[in-house]
Amino acid sequence: MLLIHCPYCDEQRAELEFAYAGEAHIARPDDPAAMSDEDWQYYLFVRANPRGRHHERWRHTHGCGRFFNAVRDTLSDKFEVTYKAGEPRR
């Protein structure tokens, strides 16, 4: 069973309790009306999809309910580190 460390509960918990929530550190543009359609669609739909180290958001749905960020290797599925939402990219 894959165990994920929740930075809020500060515990290793089973993957079953978590939900994946897409790529992390994607900030919503301050003024969408001023953007070109191309930039907007890039913000909405285009994601990095790397092979290897990936920054992603997870939610401890069946636990504390919090979103947090994680660095996961997409090849080995190994979680390198997890940290609280709002903290700088690792």
């Binding site: 069973m1 809020y8 509960c9 500060d10 515990e11 918990r13 089973a14 079953l16 309790e17 069946h62 636990g63 504390c64 309910g65 919090r66």
Partner: protein, 170 residues
């Protein structure tokens, strides 16, 4: 008016007994969800200490998240709702029912479907977790006593799952 109506529980209140474990439906109780960014405002309102660490309990109150607590107390207890304060006290008494799994083999029964390592889950701890696919709040109220809070509509399935696991202990 509502007092005169017959209360309908979603599961049988008949206790279930197997080798080393009993599963019973807890009597109705008051449950309140307490939410506040700042713990001190809630403590002032309730006039009691709240546990700070997620998973800890202090008396009737369990800390479920960084800004979330669950208060379970006797029915009819007067709890202030704190109107106008930057917090939310929500009455959720009827959202869930509580199944009590008790006995020397209670942990074994729960581990049939719960991914937590209950040997490391000390007495007095509480957490939201999952049993198979059903969300539960698990409270260890004694060395051999677990209280499982589950949403009403999931309760019949959970009771069946727990009693089946208990009946298959050997």
């Amino acid at each position: 008016m509502s007092d005169s109506l017959t209360r309908a529980e979603p599961v049988s209140s008949e206790p279930f007994a197997a080798q080393g474990v009993t599963i019973t439906l807890a009597p109705p109780m008051a449950r309140l969800s307490l939410r506040a960014r700042d713990r001190a405002t809630l403590e002032d309102l309730l006039g009691r200490k709240l546990p700070a660490k997620i998973g800890a309990t202090a008396g009737e109150i369990a800390c479920l998240g960084p800004d979330e607590w669950l208060l379970r107390s006797a029915q009819g207890a007067a709890i202030p709702l704190g109107e106008g304060l930057p917090l939310a006290v929500t009455e959720i008494s009827e959202r869930a029912v509580c199944l009590i799994v008790e006995g020397p083999r209670a942990a074994e029964v729960l581990m049939a479907g719960c991914p937590l390592d209950l040997e490391l889950f000390a007495s007095g701890r509480a957490t939201r977790t999952i049993f198979e696919t059903v969300e539960i709040i698990l409270i260890r109220s004694g060395e051999n006593r677990f209280e499982v809070e589950v949403w009403r509509s999931f309760a019949p399935w959970l009771q069946l799952a727990l009693t089946t696991a208990a009946a298959q202990l050997r």
